[in-house]
Symmetry: C2
Subunit: 592 residues, 2 copies
Amino acid sequence: MTTYTAPTNDMAFILHELLEIEKQEIPGYSDMTPDFTSAILEEAGKLNSEILHPLNTVGDTEGCRLENGVVYTPKGFKEAFNQIRSGGWPGIDCSPKYGGQGIPAVVAMQTSEMFASSNQALAMYHGLTHGAQSAIIAHGTDAQKETYLPKMISCEWTGTMNLTEPHCGTDLGLMRTKADPANDGTYKISGQKIFISAGDHDLADNIIHLVLAKIPNGPKGIKGVSLFIVPKYLINSDGTLGARNGLSVGSIEEKMGIHGNSTCVMNYDGATAYLLGEEHKGMRAMFTMMNEARLGVGLQGLGQAEVAYQNAVSYAKDRLQGRNITGAVYPKKTADPLIVHPDIKRNLLSQKSFIEGARAFTSWSAMLFDKYEREHDHDADGIVSLLTPVVKGFLTDIGYDMTIQAQQIYGGHGYIEEHGMSQFTRDARIAMIYEGTNAIQALDLVGRKLGKDNGKHALSFFEIITNFIKENKDHSELNEAFLDKLKVGSKDLQAASMYFMQNGIKNPYDALAGSYDFMHMMGHVCLGLMWSKMAKISLLKLEKNCSNSEFYETKIKTGKFYMERWMPMTSLHLNRIQSGSETIMSMTAENF
Amino acid sequence: MTTYTAPTNDMAFILHELLEIEKQEIPGYSDMTPDFTSAILEEAGKLNSEILHPLNTVGDTEGCRLENGVVYTPKGFKEAFNQIRSGGWPGIDCSPKYGGQGIPAVVAMQTSEMFASSNQALAMYHGLTHGAQSAIIAHGTDAQKETYLPKMISCEWTGTMNLTEPHCGTDLGLMRTKADPANDGTYKISGQKIFISAGDHDLADNIIHLVLAKIPNGPKGIKGVSLFIVPKYLINSDGTLGARNGLSVGSIEEKMGIHGNSTCVMNYDGATAYLLGEEHKGMRAMFTMMNEARLGVGLQGLGQAEVAYQNAVSYAKDRLQGRNITGAVYPKKTADPLIVHPDIKRNLLSQKSFIEGARAFTSWSAMLFDKYEREHDHDADGIVSLLTPVVKGFLTDIGYDMTIQAQQIYGGHGYIEEHGMSQFTRDARIAMIYEGTNAIQALDLVGRKLGKDNGKHALSFFEIITNFIKENKDHSELNEAFLDKLKVGSKDLQAASMYFMQNGIKNPYDALAGSYDFMHMMGHVCLGLMWSKMAKISLLKLEKNCSNSEFYETKIKTGKFYMERWMPMTSLHLNRIQSGSETIMSMTAENF
């Protein structure tokens, strides 16, 4: 059996020492004192370790089942979901106007990470609801907000996103689902949607589907797509539930993982639908959900890596195997624990240094998100939109890989389902795919975000790094172990950007062939920046003879590892990018 | 549904153009003409694509079941296994004295790859038997050989390896299974073994377990381990099957993949056992099996990558999604196929260039193996023993990663079990773990093989590369695209070896902390060498205006990709190795 303990100490460090949230002049932040956030983190931690994580294996083993058109979730999910609801967790950062608690995203991000760690499949039911309510907040009419938001924020009703169809996922312009206008201002939706997470289940009284469809005679392709609200049960004017809408579950998919979440084929057969936002502007509305969802998916990469790491560490401490090369560490035991071996430490440090860097990175992104949401700082928005594909693509790629490394620590026992390490990898695998495959994230980054507003946000990003290096150049210990390496990484990233600018215009293939490497490269630079900042804080603390010096010493060691072993990846990626697209594009389809 | 087509063209290229086997003066090689090998490859290819691969999903879905102490394999496995047997495939490279066909390993390696691609779980039943028969050939008495080999080579009986116990896998010195001497020269074995692949099943009349156990009062630890033959059914003096031996299946493990292979907990309860080889020399005998098994497991990494790649290519050609960035390639279709997109080509080329390089590498290793087996060339043995951990560790790590990349091409459809791409990744995952985790391979490489015989074999390996570069330095096209890059990789590898020699003696942690990176580095240099050789041959063919120029042109393009995008990994690995062990070893167990 696996266990999960919420990393509340590290979260508090990030919130109050790295980001110093209570000192920021962002509306709502001054209330976020260490005492206040600690109460939230402790409470969420308890729920996640004691209630939700023990159901993780149950969800995996039992899965969801479809019987006579009704989807049943695994045993215990209903009770656990009730506890999530009664704790107010789904609405923690939602608008108080509709029953949310209005806590900043930067704090909510920590609780989301816990949910993503403890039980990803279960967390998706309220996670997707959050995305749907955000789209309604951003694009709904007042009446729509009144009707849906309170119930969605409390998760009395849950939400979904319906994009994919059997023949199209990435290229939504090929969509076939139709929305025929009725006489009363509503629409009738017909078509099939697939891969609908939480598409049906027994956890909530109603399910509010947000569905992309084409209104006949609209613009062709992606420009003719509109977004609709399609409730499972129609809602009477007094807010009570009315007739069942014309939609049904075709089947539940058999998946590699996240078995506890029902992934449905949804059939719409003249279902009554309400336009959300403007006609033919569905993609814009959908992107509100999507960007939020992408940050959330990035968090899943981190979350699964964290829980897998925790279990790998405890196995490495318990399992006696072999002897330390320079002599027994525990001569009285039959063998030394795995954790004495350098390669095991290396593996665990890879995981730890990624995870803690990633946590700082997602938290920083959430703070930028708050800056935009709460004080309309468009520069912050520009940077967060630049970082979003990196959070999604990089954290889920490496996060997945780290679950594999954690599984590896278990040897053969990791391959046996009984120990639960396989589930972490199988669950983490989806995050590289959904909400836009990671290849799409890389295209978004290089093709759209990098040059957006004449490259203004990319320049701001580089400036943040350059300024940080400049401001701290006199600190020799920081310089040698961190800043010098960050500088190299950042220069590599700038060189890659230059390469795209110089070559990408003449030959867009050169940019596209390097997009994936660029996304990873930028990920390492972001984590390198985070580690440099965390190291600075830790060094300062130690200089002041703080009491819990071990925490800060460990931070520095972990960060050093990142700079030594992960940061040199940027040079590899640059090398690959600069090899261009000639070889790649010389391959015809027949050559493969 | 997935499909599999044996890559017979590429195999023929490797056998007859790269290795020119029919021209080698190795006993038995002169018969291996292109006509002869082509008959073998075609026949094996047919069996694997038409009979074995269609059962791959069946095996995954149905799994094995244990009922009243009897293990049943999935539907169709029995008939398929009969076909494998009747074709003589299990004994293709076994001794003709005992019914084998005596075909060189270099050719048998190609058919083994096919089995590993088409249905890894099924192939393990005869694959493990092969390993067991090799141990009996090498260490058995004449009577043991007469009794077991003919039936094992025909797979009328199958074999297993019993090493792992619940509390020990890597560290077999901790073993508790006991072998008490009986009065008649036999032993009575008692204990529990776990993770026994093909431990029981309904495919063969008898199962010959090779079991490691300790004879009481022998030397402590690993030096007191002996190897035993323990048949499921005892064998009468006339060769017929006698009484059931004192062993039973405790349970079948629920695994992440290879469901079609029964992974058993085996309980030995005073089972009659026959010593194989000498008392207390069990590990030496076991290593005969192990080294062969490690090459075979490396092949699984390649095999699963190949079949996953084939399906990814066909999906990328079929699936219409998005438009080529510089204008539609198929304007009449609703969209262009995935394969027009640069990042898709990049992904597929990563797979293809790894696979073809790996195929050359395993085949070259097999030829070196033959040189030792057939003409007792100890230098060849030295190199193949140096390469074995690289074949196992590097090919299964990257092979696994390539199945993930292939799955990624499918987007959401890759995550659904229906399409079969998930199975390739789940099946491939085990190869990084069994027969010694890849971390153990890295330790074997750096801790034992690199310095073996005063580093003689490592020097020979470097000489092969240096000589090849020297001999071909006048070929400018080869030089620029291949040899220059190979030289850099090889220098990086030598620098890492130097680092180990200079630092590893003072501080063995420095060597161990870099072992994993070294293994990967060496893998890339091996594949870089293979690609340089294949490119040379292809360039020569093109200079001579050969008829099938497209094949050679594609080879060169694929090789160029490897040199551009994979070879720069060596510099990353060197960088990591040279960062030493200080940071890693500064972490105490409590710091994690």
